[in-house]
Amino acid sequence: MNIHTYEKLWLVGAMLLIVGFIATVTYGAVGVGVTMIDDSEETIDPTQLDEDERFSEPRVEQVGENEYDVYVVARQFMFQPDPIEVPAGSDVTFYVTSADVIHSFSVAGTNVNTMVIPGEVSTMTVEFDEPGEYGIVCNEYCGSGHHAMEAMLIVQPEDEFELEEGEN
């Protein structure tokens, strides 16, 4: 097979691009520490969330000095709890599941974004350094009221934050 020299050059260039892309993504995973949503949680019956210790009462929970867990239920067409309030300077782990169809939990304008699939629990840990307010949207079509499915995430200044009991 006779390949023109210029095309061979391009073949090398193309392979460099491909390897370079894979290398960048690997750097993001290993060097920066960006982890993917994975299969670390057990499956759950979406019709039995009321019985579930974590999701019967969607809430923010303090689990360490600067560590918080947030249990979120996405359902047609709302998120619980809403708003979600966490303090700045904390590591927050979200556990998100769906009570009905496939949704997403996406903090608008950030890299906090996950699919929410009934039966599965999405987990992700996020560091919030600065106070601020973010919109949360469902970015997967979930039915005729999809465009109304939103919530707020409020990162409070550390000294103003207070965890409410039974918040939801």
Binding site: W10, G13, V32, T110, N111
Partner: protein, 54 residues
């Protein structure tokens, strides 16, 4: 179509696609630049980001 308008016949050996090489080299540079920009500025600069618990 070719026979009506072509001014000369070029066989395999007398044609070097130098113009293609020039165009594709530009495309290569553009891809590298845009990739780096998207990854390091738009993505990694767009905090907060999902990280692992270390």
């Amino acid at each position: 179509m070719a026979s009506e308008t072509s001014k000369r016949e070029l066989g395999h050996d007398d044609f070097d696609p130098i113009g293609t090489l020039a165009l594709i080299a530009l495309y290569f540079l553009l891809l590298v630049f845009l990739w780096l920009f998207m990854y390091f500025v738009e993505f990694l600069g767009n905090e907060p980001t999902v990280v692992g618990l270390i």
